[in-house]
């Protein structure tokens, strides 16, 4: 197992370097930079030119690109993600607490998605072709087609205005409920679908017939014999869906004013604040990689057929 993890980590190295290059090159490709964006049209031509030059020197924007890259990586190694031009403070300060918020939201949404998705998928498979199955499948189809932002707005309308379940701007722990539910229910749809088809496939297998021939009850068949096998496939899909989940989190944050890095990313792009955008993308990509690795390791633990040592 240790060797498997090591091998995967080593494979990550070129990927990480690629990510670093891409995020760094982003800046190089941006036609106008934040410095220009801030000062353009605000001061007189001359003063603007001076201010821009000063800002550029401060951020080393006037050096050749490879030198900038080296500086960039060096800074990263020191934990310095740069300074947000717009906000006039180190990126790290701003990202820190927002990152935690996003992780919280994504985690809560994933939990909801798993619970709802697995439950409905398993039920639908166990009661195939009954009204339960049809309802679950249709709802699943709805979920896949529903834009997260629309659903979020609908939820706000439903819960805060028409049903008055929650205050319009909830404070404290309640604040996570709506965004997590919005994101979670939508993500539950593809999971439910996969859980259902995976269960149906597993229930058709010979070892289920053999277990039934030994007197296992329906419940034991589904939960003890079939589920562990079906779960493996579901887990693979969860790994693939993490990207969607992250993306959905970004959108949902803006709707519910949930102060996570998604909300920040959207703002950063609009402000053309390259340090901020760059840093957020870097952190998100690395997080995504780590989560994928964790999912792969979990998968290897669960399925004994996976070769741990190649």
């Amino acid at each position: 197992m240790g060797r498997y993890v090591l091998k995967r980590l080593l494979l990550l190295v070129p990927v990480v370097i690629g990510i670093l290059l891409i995020t760094f090159l982003m800046k190089a490709l941006i036609p106008t930079d934040a410095a220009t964006a801030i000062y353009q049209g605000q001061l007189s031509e001359q003063d603007a030119a001076q201010a821009i030059a000063a800002l550029r020197a401060k951020y080393h924007l006037d050096l050749p690109w490879y030198q900038q890259f080296v500086l960039y990586v060096g800074d990263l190694a020191h934990g310095d993600l740069g300074e947000s031009i717009r906000l006039r403070k180190p990126v790290i300060d701003e990202i820190g607490y927002r990152y935690v918020n996003t992780i919280l939201l994504t985690g809560a949404a994933l939990a909801i998605a798993l619970i709802v998705g697995l439950a409905t998928g398993i039920l639908a498979a166990a009661r195939r072709n009954t009204w339960l199955d049809v309802t679950a499948t249709t709802i699943g189809l709805f979920g896949i087609s529903m834009p997260a932002f629309f659903f979020g707005l609908l939820l706000i309308l439903l819960c805060s205005v028409w049903l008055r379940l929650l205050p319009v701007v909830p404070h404290g722990p309640l604040a996570i409920v709506l965004p997590a539910v919005a994101l979670g229910l939508i993500e539950a749809a593809p999971l439910s679908r996969v859980a259902r088809s995976s269960m149906i496939d597993v229930l058709r297998r010979d070892y289920i017939l053999a277990a039934r021939a030994r007197g296992a009850s329906e419940i034991a068949l589904i939960l003890r014999h079939a589920l562990p096998n079906a779960l493996i496939v579901v887990l693979t899909v969860v790994g693939l869906q993490i990207g969607n989940l992250l993306g959905g989190a970004f959108i949902v944050e803006t709707i519910f004013s949930w102060h996570g890095i998604g909300e920040l990313a959207v703002n950063a792009i609009q402000w053309r604040d390259f340090a901020l955008t760059q840093a957020i993308i870097l952190i998100s990509a690395v997080t995504y990689l780590v989560i994928n690795l964790a999912a792969d390791i979990l998968y290897a633990c669960l399925d004994p057929r996976v070769e741990l040592v190649s």
Binding site: R205, D206, A210, R214, P228, P304
Partner: protein, 340 residues
């Protein structure tokens, strides 16, 4: 586990006029059409037929493992005097595994891929006999040893994909016999295995069953398998038993034209190189459109030369022609009929 004494003298398994169908309406496939079969305690019965004869469906029907769109359409199954078709789901759950067991053709597919072998063998012990985890594990290792798995303590830790076909089938036998059932059904147990392993597995089956006093219903298309093991043989064609009797009788001088054809078709050692393999011309009938007469009539002899007019109109009954020998045929009613 002590075996309960039989509730009555008589066959352990008594099947009467069993009918199993798939689908409904005009396209219904009648896979089993009125089967009568008896198995005595401790007896090994071979059920022979080609693909499509309904023998596997019969095996599954006995244990009520037929699922939608199939269903048992009629008849009776008495196990030790108990009406199997009337059992509740709960009774079925207790009956299966304990009194009756089954092993299938593809042993590796029958094992749960994500659980260790040891636990799969231990499971019936734990559930039905309420042993502790340690006790069940030890019992499982002992069972694996008894079916000939070398180094059972280590093999018990393995996963199914790490076993060979032969080993997997041994494990299936261990699981099936764990609770000492009174009847074991083996559906083509060696068909998917190497020829060299087949003999070993068959011997294992025979020895285990004899040792435990378990009856064995051996479902196969291979006459050789039956010759090795069975006490009695039943030949099945198009959903019906067409002949049954002691193995020596059926294999040496079968009376039914189909059984004769099967025997002739089997390649023998010592056949000269120029001899053609004899097949039975034609194919099995369409089970969704049963003809009125004998199902084999169109293939009986060359171009149905042996079929009488009656054969095409009326289904012959399965009647005894000698003590312990039944035959379903109009054309050779006396069991010593001159064959083609």
């Amino acid at each position: 586990m002590t075996m309960p004494s039989p509730r009555h003298d008589g066959p352990l398994l008594d099947i009467r006029d069993l009918r199993t169908q798939f689908g409904s309406g005009p396209g219904t496939v009648n896979a089993v059409q009125g089967v009568d079969l008896r198995i005595a305690p401790g007896e090994i019965v071979g059920l022979v037929g080609e693909s499509g004869s309904g023998k596997s469906v019969l095996a599954l029907s006995i244990m009520r493992l037929i699922q939608k769109p199939g269903r048992i359409a009629g008849g009776e199954i008495l196990f030790d005097g108990r009406d199997v078709l009337a059992m509740s789901a709960r009774d079925l759950g207790r009956w299966r595994g304990r009194d009756i067991g089954i092993i299938f053709q593809q042993p590796q597919g029958c094992l749960n891929p994500v659980r260790r072998i040891g636990w799969q063998v231990a499971e019936p012990l734990r559930q039905q006999e309420r042993l502790s985890r340690k006790g069940a594990w030890d019992g499982a290792v002992a069972l694996l040893r008894s079916v000939g798995i070398p180094a059972p303590e280590e093999k018990a830790l393995a996963y199914p994909h790490q076993l060979s076909g032969g080993q997997a089938q041994r494990v299936m036998i261990a699981i099936a016999l764990a609770l000492r059932p009174r009847l074991l059904i083996a559906d083509e147990p060696t068909t998917a295995l190497d020829v060299t392993i087949q003999a070993q597995i068959l011997e294992l089956l025979r020895d285990s069953c004899r040792h435990a006093g378990t009856s064995l219903l051996l479902v196969t298309h291979d006459l050789g398998v039956v010759a090795r093991l069975a006490d009695r043989v039943a030949v099945m064609y198009a959903g019906r038993i067409v002949e049954d009797g002691p193995v020596a009788t059926i294999l040496d001088h079968p009376a039914h034209p189909y059984a004769r054809g099967l025997l002739r078709a089997a390649p023998r050692l010592g056949q000269s190189g120029g001899e053609r393999l004899q097949d039975i011309p034609g194919g099995i009938p369409d089970l969704s459109r049963p003809a009125a007469g004998c199902a084999f009539a169109p293939r009986c002899g060359r171009r149905a030369s042996l079929a009488l007019a009656r054969c095409l109109e009326e289904m012959p009954p399965l009647d005894p022609v000698a003590r312990d020998h039944r035959l379903r045929c109009w054309a050779t009613p006396d069991a010593t009929g001159d064959g083609p």
